[in-house]
């Protein structure tokens, strides 16, 4: 939670400074819209992220996974309910933090009703997509026992192409094209734009299509990897 606040605050300050140096605009955002971007950013991040593949790595190394595998249901259900609960608790602190930031930085929000309505399914899809993706990534620990490098690399790519470090419109043209193809934009920037009311209807439809497409790919991949992983699983410890 503190990490969330600090990260958002750092980039809020950096980009408002840049925007002021440019005379009040960067990447199509005015200075007060940048502030709005990074405040809404906190909300979308808390909803779409949460479960870390390191938890899985830890379980595999410690051997805690053995008992979970013996249960008759897929471990993803237990993980999901645990995470939803912690997310709800986190919201209790995130919302006041957002209000505090809003009081200090005086952002500008434009609330567009149809866009906010579309936000709900977009958030759900973004959350599920990121979750499944992280799960697939975590499952590689069945082979390597350690995630380290792979996850850090993944995190670095996500940092830029999801819109976490800056609005994607700030990125050079080629990088924006790449961001459209990668899954990261659809897990973060797309719902964030809906919340800020910056999407056009056709962009929204394209966004949903990309979310569904990536989700289908990832679910298929997860089933494939899971089957192999469970067979490959060698218990560590007892």
């Amino acid at each position: 939670m503190v990490g969330l606040l600090v990260e958002s605050l750092i980039y809020l300050v950096v980009w408002t400074t840049v925007s002021e140096a440019r005379g009040g605009e960067v990447g199509g955002f005015s200075t007060d819209e940048i502030a709005g971007y990074f405040i809404a950013w906190m909300f979308v991040r808390n909803v779409t992220t949460g479960w870390s593949p390191y938890a899985m790595e830890w379980r595999i190394r410690r051997g805690d996974f053995n008992s979970l595998l013996l249960r008759p249901v897929h471990p993803i259900f237990a993980d999901t309910s645990e995470m939803l609960a912690s997310k709800a608790v986190a919201m209790i602190t995130v919302v006041p933090a957002m209000i505090a930031l809003a009081l200090v930085f005086k952002p500008r929000f434009e609330l567009v009703p149809w866009s906010l309505l579309a936000l709900i399914p977009a958030l759900v899809l973004a959350f599920v997509l990121r979750y499944v993706l992280m799960y697939v990534l975590a499952l590689t620990a069945f082979w390597t026992t350690r995630l380290g490098g792979l996850f850090e690399l993944w995190y670095g790519v996500e940092f830029f192409f999801s819109g976490r470090v800056a609005p994607l419109t700030v990125l050079p043209e080629w990088a924006q094209q790449v961001a459209n193809l990668l899954p990261f934009k659809w897990m973060f920037y797309f719902p964030l734009e809906l919340l800020l009311g910056r999407s056009q209807p056709d962009e929204m439809l394209f966004g949903f299509a990309m979310q569904v497409l990536w989700l289908t790919v990832m679910v298929l991949l997860m089933r494939f990897v899971w089957q192999r992983a469970a067979r490959r699983y060698a218990a560590v410890g007892g």
Binding site: V6, I10, V14, V18, A21, G27, R146, E152, G156
Partner: protein, 261 residues
């Protein structure tokens, strides 16, 4: 002299332990280079939009990144592992074994564990610094280099004192983990000169989490911005925090009753 020998022995033990896991060096190198790459890409992104950030040019911000990486390496290899050990030692009870040894307890808890491979960041940071400083135009003289070394050392000592103070609270609060994490996260704010932050935050980053003294002031020394006032402040702050932390550690010890017995 005696203390130096003690430190050397502990460092050697840690090093021998870490040398068993040489593959970790490769993992660490990969992570260090990746971390630097992410930092540089962030800078490139900012400077694709503007020429200067609150009066700092690209090369000057590179100096900030260099100092941040260098000091981050020191924190992760020397300071943090030991401070984690303290909290864990209180919880599990093995702190008692350290306390029964006939040496200064603060020294012993500060040198029990070093993570050798994390030092990679120190070299990466140094490399970035040398690259940036040699391209900065006028370069730096002996005086600036000396001032930089002094304020960097002060920054390191201030950081150590703050960490030890947090670790000391584990005598009362058993779960100090969240405080560690908060401190760690706030250190990330030091990647940018503290001058860009609004004044209330700048105050916090100077006195609550001394990122300003640890990163920005040394970077100022290399970019000809350091005023004698800040040099003095850094020295004073280092002396003050060292003394205060030592006092606090002893207060903590007196409250400690041991968990292993």
């Amino acid at each position: 002299m005696h203390y130096l020998r003690l430190i050397r022995t502990y460092v050697r033990l840690s090093a021998l332990n870490e040398l068993q896991y040489r593959a970790n060096l490769l993992v660490q190198m990969f992570n260090s280079v990746l971390g630097l790459g992410i930092g540089l890409a962030g800078l490139a992104l900012v400077f694709s939009q503007t020429d200067s950030l609150a009066g700092w040019g690209p090369l000057e911000l590179l100096v900030v990144v260099g100092v941040h990486t260098l000091l981050g390496g020191v924190i992760k290899s020397v300071i943090q592992p030991n401070m984690y050990q303290i909290a864990e030692g209180v919880q599990e009870g093995h702190l008692d074994y350290i306390l029964t040894k006939p040496e200064d307890s603060q020294l012993l808890v500060s040198i029990t564990r070093f993570e050798l491979w994390r030092l990679v960041d120190v070299f990466v940071g140094l490399g970035v610094l040398i690259f940036a400083v040699t391209r900065l135009g006028e370069g730096i003289g002996l005086g600036e280099a000396a001032a930089f070394s002094v304020v960097l050392l002060c920054g390191g000592l201030i950081f150590y004192s703050f960490w030890l103070a947090i670790a000391t609270t584990s005598f009362w609060v058993v779960r100090t983990w969240s405080m560690y994490e908060m401190f760690d996260r706030l250190y990330q704010a030091g990647r940018w000169p503290v001058g860009i932050y609004p004044s209330w935050l700048r105050l916090g980053l100077t006195f609550l989490v001394p990122v300003a003294f640890a990163v920005t002031v040394p970077a100022e020394a290399l970019t000809a911005r350091l005023t004698p006032l800040y040099l003095g402040l850094a020295l004073g702050m280092a002396a003050l925090t060292l003394v205060a932390t030592r006092w606090f550690w002893h207060v903590g010890l007196r409250h400690y009753s041991g968990a292993s017995a």
